[in-house]
Every structure is written in C-alpha cells, then in structure tokens.
C-alpha cells in the first residue's frame, strides 16, 4: 500500500468530493484518480460514506411543528 505518495491527494479529494475545487485542481484530482487505484477505492468509499451519513442522520420534522411555525406568521394578520 503506497500511502506516502498519496497524502497530498488525500486532502485534494475532500475538496473534489465537495465540488469546491478550481478547474485546475479538478483536472489534477481526476488525472490522479485515473491512475491511482488506491485513491480511487478510497474516494469511492468516501462517496458512499458521505451519502450514508447524510441519509442516516436525517430526521424529519416532527408532526405539529409546521402548524406551530405557521402560527408565528405576522401576528394579527
């Protein structure tokens, strides 16, 4: 496992995952992913993890809250 050479990419991939990189950085990240199976697998894992955390951590609004919020509208109107 070639961990050493990929440490810089490790950080770059976070921004790539967030779609917050500049065009140049995107090209850099993509060409690295093309050539590096180690990072490609980990990138894929990060994508699954992010999606899973997002869906699992979501709790819908409790019933009744919407009505309470609507009652707060321009008092007296």
């Amino acid at each position: 496992m070639s961990k050493g050479p990929c440490e810089a990419c490790e950080e770059l991939l976070q921004g790539y995952l967030d779609r917050e990189l500049t065009d140049d950085e995107v090209s850099l990240a993509e060409s690295h992913l093309d050539g590096c199976e180690y990072c490609r697998r980990r990138y894929r894992f990060e994508v699954s993890l992010r999606r899973y955390v997002q869906t699992t951590a979501v709790e819908r609004m409790p019933p009744g809250l919407m009505e309470k919020l609507a009652e707060l509208r321009s008092a007296g109107a």
Binding site: E20, L49, A57, L65, L72, S74
Partner: protein, 194 residues
Amino acid sequence: MGEPEPETEAHRIAAEARDRVRFEEEALELADQVYRVARRLVGSREEAEDLVQETYGRAFRSWRSYTPGTNLRAWLLRILTNLNLDRGRRIQRSPDFQPIEEGDYYLANKVAEAQGEQALDQDRVVERLSQDSIVNALSSLPHDFRDTVVLVDIGEFSYADAAQILDVPIGTVMSRLHRGRRLLKSRLADEAVS
C-alpha cells in the same frame, strides 16, 4: 412633493403585505430542511423544535432585512446558528487542543485492513454503521466542528454559504470541516470493523 397620495400609500401597503406573505410562505416551505440541520446541531428533538420556532419567530419579525433573491435557507440558518450560540453555547466552545486526528483515509484504511481492498468497492460496506453510532459520533464532535460538518454534509451548504452562516472566514470552514470529518471517521472506526 408634499404628502403621498392616499392611493399611492394604499398601494405601497398592499405591496408590502404581499411581499410579506410571499416571504413567509417561502420560509415555511424550507422548514423541514431547516429542522434537519437544527436537529443535528442540538442534543434533543425538543431543543431542535424550540430552536426552529425561535428562528421562525425572529425571521417573521425581521423579514425586511432579507434581500429577495438571495439564499433564504442560508439566511434562516444564520439566524438559527446565532440563536443557538446565544443559548449559552459560547461558554462551552471547543478548546484549541484536540486529540491527534487520523488522516482522511483512516476509516477506509481500517475497513481495507479488516475486509480487504475490494470491500471498499461496495456501497454497502458503510451499512455496518448504525444510525445511532453516526448520530452519536456527530454529536460528540466539538461544537465548532460539528456546526460546520452538519451545515456542509447534512445541510449541503457550500463552503461560502457555511462561512456566511457561521460568520467565519472560508478558510476556517475548510479547516473545521476537514478536522471535524477526520474526528468523525476516527470515532466510527471501531464499529466499522467490528
């Protein structure tokens, strides 16, 4: 020009009432999304409900300070995070010192060690983590890190929006996000490979 024409004044009042109703409707349409973020910022459902109600109360009162066409969800979340901070959160701000963090790949590496590299190719490899452990790991993060991770990863805000909501520079968002996610992953590692 003298006094405004009574008719013009009536128009102005009617237009303002329409704007206000539109604002309130748009804000209410976002309530579920606002709640989702609030729920992960605080410890309990009751607290989240209170915080969202307080947020909407304030938003409805100060609707004129919202600029139409800008990101209303971010505007609401900014009120919410400020109210959350006002609720005594400031006294328990995270200390500067944090435990040593593992790298971004820490969790993936743990899984690969336990189950082999190919395990990383499967979406369901993460499903070993229970909802409880994810929720607990998120709520165990130091506040500043948690706010940022929740806004970006649960709320899907951009770095720039998160910076505006939290009133910190974008570089701070990036570093808190980075460190927060690393901490989160190190807290999930035990369960992921058990």
